[in-house]
């Protein structure tokens, strides 16, 4: 059954040096995602991708355009390379793979992701990393609204999002754990000619960390006080913060072959006042 | 600490003579300003410290030795104080700033506080030494001493006699209390005479009574506690004594004490009455303890005004670097605007504190005081504050209001001069006595509330608005 399914797509699947190349042009997302799953299942050797060992079996998907749910629910440590613009819910419920996108990602990338890595050579849309529990997301440029919303660490799981450009409003809303780093550097969307709305020239939008009750947000450069959610407190870095930042930022530079000379003293750190910001809200 | 005593030449920046209320407050006062310099305290007693007023409670068995100390055991350590016990000052050489003891120890001070307290007054009483066969009082008359009779030896009592003759005591120190205790226990004493109905007399009477000893108080004036009580107040207690099968004799003196076998057997009052007794407590009051200040010296003249050492409002004496505090001092009586010796505990503490702070270089004023005392005998509490017997005040501006409830044994007397309270006497119900001392201290005009002063529910709320505000919002408030 599975074999016959793959055979029916043999024209668009090619074996490559270290995996497969799929031409996704005009392929419906259901088919594309099933192809990926079947290819993973067929890999009986489990010679899965490992960033450290340098071994890699890569599924490269070319001409991706709007296909949703790529990587959804996959648990094996494969690597998927996407060229084009994948659709919404990229890597939703993903639990292991590394996905690298040469292009922009749409909304809800990394939705409720458990582990793995998403590397986006471009922008990502709204609610990037929604409820993310583990894994890492690297966005070269900007992200939309509500990135990192409700992300939370859990036992050994520890989610991280690194945003090279600018983040929209409600960054880290309800955030309960993990790290969000915004560099505000590599943005292609800064002074918009059409923008009528009052935005300061800062890396993040309004309502940063509103409802935040865990985790840390690091932002390169200071931000206007009014933007801070009422539950968070701004502070300067400590020594241990710098080590954490260096680790993830060097990853970011590596993935996107970038280099900036960052002055680590310019980072600010946002943390919640309390794990229970609404302790006094209710009358009993 | 005792090994220090072996050192003959001792030096300290601060030296305090006296180890009681004033002396120790002085030490605290110094320490509040000077945390380091050496402070040495000299006492002629052998105890760390004890509260002199407590000796009667000790005698009565109401407290034990453990609790007679009014400062904790670690008080000296905590404040880094050096205590020299058994240090009997012989004389002070003010020019060299040296203090010499009878056993030739020498202490050198930079600043000195004399807080040596008071010593009992020994009245001019005749001691009659009876032979085995002689009985006291027979045919006795006023010429007894002059003419002698069948060779009875007699002489005027001296301090040595009190030490040597069994059954004669003063009652101002722990030693006294211990001695009495030992004596009454060993001899199963049942009967006692107390010479003097003042505070010491009453306190000792109460203690002895509680040990089951009958008391005969002989008071020279017309009432008990003559400086504070009036006749009504006195009678309340006199009656209480009588109820306990004891007696109080006022307007009486003791002219002769009969000694047999070196032991008191009886006293004879001024009117010739002989009272057989096993012991005699001489409680005729105290006087400032200034004997060690050489009478011949210039300094003595400068230091002593009437009976004690006179100080200014910084507790400085006329002698450079010498301060004084406590029962030895003569200072201002704010009610009479006179200089006198007011030997009461709270003033000793306040003076000691002021002296200490001034010694350490802080200007802390002592603004004077007035007498006040509280007693409780036979469960009747009594408080006398200020001038309760205003003899020398202009009668025109003087008002005395009283209320006496015989059934409840409650007596209140308020002395008002120029619309200000200058004295209060409360017997039976003393619950809110302090309000009156506040009114006296603060010279509050009570013209409008005179009618309320004696009421049972009299309290802060009836006080004049400004003063009440000061009290209610007073110390604790910055509204």
């Amino acid at each position: 059954m599975a074999d016959s399914f793959l055979k029916s797509f043999k024209n668009i699947i090619k074996k490559s040096k270290n995996g497969f190349i799929i031409n996704a042009e005009n392929i419906a997302y259901k088919d594309l995602n099933r192809i990926i799953r079947e290819l993973v299942k067929n890999d009986k050797d489990h010679t899965y991708f490992s960033e450290d060992s340098g071994r890699s079996e890569i599924i490269e998907i070319q001409k991706v355009l709007g296909q949703r749910y790529i990587g959804d629910g996959i648990q094996e440590n494969i690597k998927i390379v996407l060229k084009g613009t994948p659709g919404n819910d990229l890597a939703a419920f993903m639990d292991g793979p590394q996905i690298e996108i040469f292009g922009n990602a749409q909304d809800a990338s990394g939705n409720t992701m458990n582990s793995g890595k998403i590397i986006i050579h471009g922008n990502a849309g709204d609610i990037t990393g929604y409820s993310m529990r583990g894994g890492e997301i690297y966005v070269r440029n900007d992200v939309g609204y509500r990135s990192g919303i409700h992300m939370k660490s859990y036992r050994e799981k520890f989610p991280v999002i690194v945003i090279g450009g600018r983040a929209g409003d409600f960054l880290g809303e309800y955030m309960a754990g993990g790290i969000v780093i915004v560099l505000g550097l590599n943005t292609n969307d800064f002074c918009r000619s059409n923008s009528f709305i009052f935005k300061k020239n800062e890396a993040v939008g309004n309502f940063v960390g509103t409802g935040m009750h865990g985790g840390v947000i690091y932002i390169y450069g200071d931000i206007f006080e009014n933007k801070l959610g009422k539950e968070i407190i701004k502070s300067e870095l400590e020594g241990s913060d710098k080590a954490v930042l260096e680790k993830y930022i060097s990853n970011y530079f590596n993935y996107f072959s970038l280099h900036y000379n960052l002055d680590y003293n310019k980072f600010i750190k946002l943390e919640p006042y309390s794990k229970r910001p609404y302790g006094n809200l209710y009358a009993y | 600490m005792s090994n220090i005593l072996e050192d003959n030449h001792l030096k300290a920046k601060y030296v305090i003579i006296g180890n009681s209320a004033a002396g120790l407050s002085c030490a605290e006062g110094i320490r509040s300003g000077d945390k380091k310099a050496k402070i040495m305290i000299l006492t002629n007693e052998k105890f760390d410290n004890y509260s002199k007023p407590l000796i009667s409670y000790f005698l009565a068995g109401k407290i034990d030795l453990k609790n007679i100390f009014f400062k904790d055991h670690d008080f000296y350590k905590k404040h880094s104080l050096t205590l020299l016990k058994d240090f009997n000052v012989k004389k002070i050489n003010f020019r060299n700033k040296e203090i010499l003891s009878w056993d030739d120890k020498k202490v050198i001070y930079e600043k000195l506080c004399i807080a040596a307290g008071g010593v009992p007054i020994i009245p001019q009483v005749e001691l009659a030494f009876l032979s085995e066969k002689e009985e006291p009082g027979n045919n006795s008359n006023d010429s007894h001493i002059k003419h002698g009779r069948s060779g009875i030896k007699s002489r005027i009592i001296s301090e040595i006699d009190i030490k040597n003759i069994d059954g004669i005591f003063t009652f101002t120190t722990m030693d006294d209390s211990l001695k009495i205790k030992k004596y009454v226990t060993a001899n199963k004493i049942k009967e006692s005479v107390i010479l003097g109905g003042g505070l010491i007399g009453l306190k000792s009477a109460e203690s002895l009574l509680s040990l089951g000893i009958r008391i005969n108080i002989i008071e020279m004036s017309g009432r008990l506690l003559p400086s504070s009580f009036d006749k009504t107040a006195s009678e309340i207690y006199e009656k209480a004594f009588r109820d306990k099968k004891s007696s109080v004799s006022v307007n009486k003196t003791i002219k002769r004490v009969y000694i047999k076998n070196n032991k008191v057997v009886a006293v004879e009052t001024g009117d010739g009455k002989v009272i057989y007794t096993d012991m005699l407590v001489i409680a005729a009051g105290v006087k400032p303890n200034i004997d060690f200040i050489d009478e011949e010296t210039e300094e003595r003249k400068n230091l002593v005004f009437l009976r004690g050492i006179k100080t200014d409002k910084y507790m400085r004496t006329e002698v450079r670097d010498v301060f004084a505090a406590g029962d030895i001092v003569e200072n201002k009586n704010v009610l009479k605007n006179s200089i006198e010796n007011i030997a009461i505990w709270p003033l000793a503490v306040r003076q000691g504190m002021a002296a200490g702070q001034n010694m350490a270089g802080f200007f802390k004023e002592y603004s004077g005081g007035f007498p006040m005392n509280s007693v409780e005998i036979f469960d009747i509490p009594g408080v006398a504050i200020g001038i309760t017997n205003p003899d020398n005040f202009d009668k025109k501006h003087l008002e005395i209001i009283t209320d006496y409830n015989r059934d409840l044994n409650v007596y209140k007397k308020i002395v008002i001069f120029e619309n200000k309270i200058i004295g209060v006497l409360l017997i039976g119900n003393i619950e809110r006595a302090g309000i009156f001392s506040g009114l006296i201290t603060n010279k509050v005009n009570v013209g409008k509330i005179k009618d309320l002063l004696l009421k049972d529910d009299f309290g802060v709320i009836q006080l004049p608005a400004e003063y009440k505000k000061h009290l209610v919002t007073g110390d604790a408030v910055a509204l």
């Binding site: 919404n88 849309g125 409003d169 505000g184 002074c191 059409n194 009528f196 009052f198 935005k199 020239n201 | -």
Partner: protein, 408 residues
């Protein structure tokens, strides 16, 4: 019955959707293939119960006439309507709108178009007699007002015929089906316009009906909309108070009337519209420079009932511009892109890339931040008055925006 009455009688039909719009700012026309392609990328955002397109510049030969597109239940309705039209309008030209056969399109109504101008409006409308008409421009406004009232009254009063499009040199093509099917059904590759908007519909609570499909056309306005408006009742009453009758019970209809009321009748600059429909928060208004804070405060207070609440992204077409806007906390997606003189807005980036694989620029507008692409007719921008917004922009661009560190 396609035009089932029950959808007209006060039942509101909320819907979630896909929207797409493209404009050639130089005014170059292009056929509908591109927009069909683009909207088809978002097939999954609609459910086959509604799709449609609006196109501007498609009727150059009749550009001075109102192009009325109508749905009729049956030929009787058509007949009655045409008799009525004869009384009111000078009808320059009328025809059935050509449709192709498409298996996915079921039970289409009769679809026809009429190019008309009203006969002397002074004589036909008692109400308009009161208007003070002194010159041509007054007359033009009065004529627009007449048409506006005519269209709303007609639709409100009719059960079996609806005017779905009533602008000049533009038209709305819509129906029940997936948008790509609708596009092919209307043979949109035969039309050439410089501005196209499109809509794929996912209505809830009811099956779709032809009249309820989007875009909503009214005079030159066309509106496509994604989301559900929580403030519907408040907004509806607001436009009702100014004489608009809501016949279609859709959020989009109310939105269209809001634009018509605010821009056409209240003369509020399109630059200011976002400050009403997606007003800045009071806390943001407090941050505006003092000189103009009161203006924005006043704007919000007076037009509080025009605040559109709840999630929405809309694309509004007009003869002069394409305008897109999100709700102020951005509960719906919106992506904009620019490639030379083509400009795009869409619910998803993939639709833009479908028709324009590598645009010069792609960005996400912020919540409440409008996207406005003006038609550059013969190098002349439409006359838009100086507004506080320009002042605001100037203020912030001079004070706030400085170039960031460049990539090494």
């Amino acid at each position: 019955m396609n035009l089932n009455l029950k959808y007209k009688s006060g039942y509101r039909v909320p819907s979630g959707c896909a929207v797409f719009g493209v404009i050639n700012e130089s005014g170059r026309v292009f056929n509908g293939e591109m927009v069909i392609n683009a909207i088809s990328m978002m097939h999954d955002r609609s459910n086959g119960l509604g799709g449609g397109f609006a196109a501007y510049g498609i009727y150059p030969e009749f550009k001075d006439y109102y192009a009325l597109h109508l749905f009729f239940d049956d030929s009787l309705a058509r007949k009655e309507t045409e008799v009525f039209f004869q009384k009111v309008f000078k009808i320059k030209y009328a025809e059935d709108i050509e449709t192709g056969k498409n298996n996915n399109i079921k039970n289409p109504p009769i679809i026809a178009r009429y190019f008309v101008v009203p006969k002397n409006i002074i004589t036909v409308s008692e109400e308009l007699k009161e208007l003070d008409i002194n010159n041509e421009s007054d007359y033009k406004s009065a004529e627009e007002e007449f048409m506006a009232r005519f269209v709303t009254d007609f639709n409100y009063g009719s059960n079996n015929a609806f005017i779905i499009s009533s602008g000049k040199n533009m038209g709305v093509f819509k129906g029940v089906g997936y948008p790509e099917d609708i596009g092919h059904f209307y043979k949109l590759d035969n039309y050439k316009g410089y501005l196209w908007t499109s809509h794929g519909r996912f209505p809830t609570n009811s099956t779709g009906w032809w009249g309820g499909a989007h875009p909503f056309g009214f005079l030159n306005w066309s509106v496509v909309h994604n989301g559900e408006i929580s403030s519907y009742g408040t907004n509806k009453r607001f436009v009702n108070d100014y004489g608009y009758k809501c016949s279609f019970s859709t959020d989009t209809e109310v939105l269209t009337y809001l634009f018509d009321l605010l821009v056409r009748k209240h003369n509020i600059s399109i630059y200011l519209i976002n400050y009403i429909l997606a007003s800045p928060l009071w806390s943001d208004i407090e941050l505006f420079p003092e000189e103009i804070r009161d203006i924005f405060k006043t704007l919000r207070i007076i037009y509080s009932r025009a605040l559109v609440n709840g999630p929405f992204s809309i694309i509004v077409g007009n003869q002069d511009y394409m305008y897109a806007l999100n709700d102020r906390i951005k509960l719906r997606p919106l992506v904009a892109a620019k490639n030379k003189d083509y400009s795009f807005v869409s619910s998803e980036e993939s639709s833009i890339r479908k028709v324009c694989p590598s645009p010069d620029r792609v960005w996400f507008p912020d919540g409440g931040e409008p996207v406005l692409f003006l038609l550059n007719k013969k190098g002349k921008k439409p006359e838009i008055e100086h507004s506080p917004v320009e002042y605001l922009n100037e203020y912030f661009s001079s004070n706030m925006c400085k170039d960031k560190q460049k990539v090494v």
